[in-house]
């Protein structure tokens, strides 16, 4: 009986476990997590914080998930080290778990800025259910909350806290919000929309110190020497992969744990998937972490297959893509979303009244990315063009058309059957 050990019970770990169980009915599967909580979706934490959903709905799988799949859970225990030579993982409490094949799906944690005063009570990241609960408690004592960072997490947290009736200021170092995923023109549309709903946004400003006596947050000082009085600070400054457990082992790391196209690490019987794994980017081909839920699920799945069947399934690469909706304004971005140089052609269409804004990035005739605001329904069709890397020159005009839909790419599908190989493309005859 083979022993599979999976570290991490989130997106990547769960999808791997399900595939492993499907392919091997008798294997022993052990899942370890330092969080003592049933399988939940951390993406929903901002909805939970906003009171849009009850705690019950955070559950991404049934309470009986482990039983149903005959998995031995080891919850609330941190893995401190793995020993590839001995094929064991060491837990915080000194105990050991042996494995034949190991999956590292330890994800990432919120980066807390190195800013004086960050240890004061009232400063949180938003990554775990425990973070969300602590923020919840602190909200009772909060009149004003400050978000450090104008990325997706910062803005989602801002929405949630605002919805709870708290005054919110988002402090952004860059000239505009969402600077990681779009340039200034679309970002300003989103910024205007959010500001109109009552969230204050201050750009081009960094926080320099968190103030407060008695170890409790009372305010934050900005680089222009102004002080915002606040009781709660949520830091949304990106994430950092949890790779400490492979330190000083043969498992190769860069920023994350480096994996090949089979999601295998530099050690044959150790795989990695999700936010912790650094794999080839679908567009650039460079080692990248696109720390996103869909990437984690698909990587987990492929890792699971390969752990059971040997390296049979290839991963076509990670893709940067995001979807959010702020106060009724949907936004979807994918792939390359900034014009880095002149070799990238840009197409834009907009209607300021609605507002609707669409921007497309094309290189050598191939769609490499897009930003959609206001009208996102056909995002997946554009997304498929990015993934399939086909020459879109023939249909370029219709990309920006309001009437764009799947039918418009039919000529490309028919001309590139080897790329559109999935059986579903044969269902239109």
């Amino acid at each position: 009986m083979k022993r599979y050990v999976i570290i991490g019970t989130s997106a990547a770990g769960v999808s791997a476990a399900e595939v492993i169980r499907k392919l091997d009915k008798t294997a022993k599967i052990i899942m370890v997590s330092d969080e003592n909580y049933p399988v939940y979706s951390r993406c929903l934490l901002s909805y939970y914080l906003a009171n849009d959903i009850p705690e019950e709905k955070l559950k991404y799988r049934d309470e009986k998930f482990f039983d149903q799949n005959s998995i031995d859970p080891v919850l609330g225990k941190k893995v401190v080290k793995i020993e590839p030579q001995k094929k064991v993982v060491l837990l915080e409490d000194g105990s050991k778990i042996e494995y034949d094949t190991l999956l590292i799906a330890t994800g990432a944690r919120a980066k807390l800025e190195n800013i004086p005063g960050k240890e004061k009570y009232g400063v949180f990241g938003l990554r775990t259910i425990s973070d969300a609960k602590q923020i919840n408690t602190r909200l009772n004592k909060t009149k004003t909350a400050v978000m450090l960072g104008g990325g997706l997490i910062g803005l989602k947290a801002a929405y949630a806290v605002h919805k709870r009736g708290t005054e919110v200021v988002v402090v952004v170092k860059s000239p505009h919000i969402l600077s990681q995923i779009m340039d200034s023109e679309p970002a300003e549309i989103v910024q205007k929309h959010i500001s109109q709903k009552g969230i204050q946004i201050q750009t081009n400003l960094a926080a320099v110190e968190i103030l407060g006596s008695n170890q409790e947050v009372e305010g934050v000082k900005l680089e222009n020497n102004t002080v915002i009085q606040c009781e709660l600070i949520i830091v949304g400054k990106g994430v950092q992969p949890n790779i400490e457990l492979v330190k000083d082992t043969e498992v190769k790391t860069n920023y994350g744990i480096v994996v090949n196209e089979y999601l295998q690490t530099s050690v044959d019987n150790i795989y990695a998937a999700g936010d912790v794994a650094e794999s080839n980017d679908l567009i650039s081909g460079n080692l990248t972490i696109n720390a996103l839920w869909p990437n984690a699920v698909i990587q987990g799945k492929i890792a699971g297959y390969n752990m059971v069947l040997g390296n049979t399934k290839k991963y076509d690469g990670t893709l940067a893509m995001n979807s959010v909706e702020f106060f009724g304004l949907p936004v979807i971005t994918c792939g390359v979303t900034k014009q880095k140089d002149e070799t990238i052609e840009v197409l834009v269409t907009k209607n300021e009244n609605k507002p609707v804004y669409k921007k497309f990035f094309i290189k050598n005739g191939v769609l490499i990315g897009f930003v959609l605001i206001g009208d996102v329904e056909q995002a997946g069709v554009y997304n498929s063009l990015v993934r399939k890397k086909v020459d879109i020159t023939k249909i370029k005009e219709s990309l920006v058309s309001e009437k764009f839909d799947f039918a418009k790419i039919l000529p490309l599908v028919n001309a590139n059957k080897e790329k559109f190989f999935e059986p579903e493309y044969c269902e239109i005859v």
Binding site: A11, S15, S41, C43, L44, Y47, D52, I53, K57, Y60, R61, W293, P294, V297, I298, K301, M321, N322, S323, V324, E325, P330, I332, C334, V376, E377, Q378, A379, G380, V381, N383, S384, D405, F406, A407, K408, L410, P411, E422, P423, E424, E427, I428, V429
Partner: protein, 148 residues
């Protein structure tokens, strides 16, 4: 088994009967005259699309490797035991992650959640669109699924 709806483009006239019966079938009242007054307005889960002279009626293909299911962060989108892709509106938070990845663009927004073709699950005569298509351009197909 893979269950889905196949469209024969040569037979499709673009009359949009499928869109209409779909919207009514998935309305609260299931009655055309009353459904038009519902809020949010009933949404068809099929869409008649065209390019040049080719017309198709497209809807969820119930993909084997359903990208929407992998992308859904609330497990609202799921694979049913019969292999079809189904959606649980109760769990949906309307994040549009599924819309972001659907290669056919056939997941629609309705109020705060999304909706898609459910192959008229539980309907005695099968999908309403297939039954009502005047030219029989739509048909339910069952294929043996490849073990991947």
């Amino acid at each position: 088994m893979k269950k889905t709806i196949i469209v024969e483009t040569e037979k499709c006239l673009g009359c949009k009967t499928c869109e209409l019966v779909c919207a009514v079938q998935h309305s609260n009242t299931k009655n055309l005259e009353l459904a038009v007054f519902e809020q949010p307005t009933p949404v068809p889960r099929r869409k008649v699309e065209y390019i040049n002279s080719v017309i198709i009626s497209d809807g969820c293909h119930h993909c084997e490797e359903a990208l929407c299911v992998s992308a859904c962060m609330s497990a609202a989108m799921y694979k049913d035991v019969d292999g079809t892709t189904q959606h649980n509106e109760e769990k949906c938070v309307g994040c549009n992650m599924c819309i972001m990845v659907c290669p056919f663009g056939v997941i629609k927004r309705k109020g705060n959640v999304v909706v898609k073709c459910d192959l008229c699950k539980g309907r005695e005569n099968g999908p309403a669109c297939v039954e009502s298509c005047p030219t029989k351009a739509l048909k339910v197909s069952m294929q043996l699924q490849q073990i991947s």
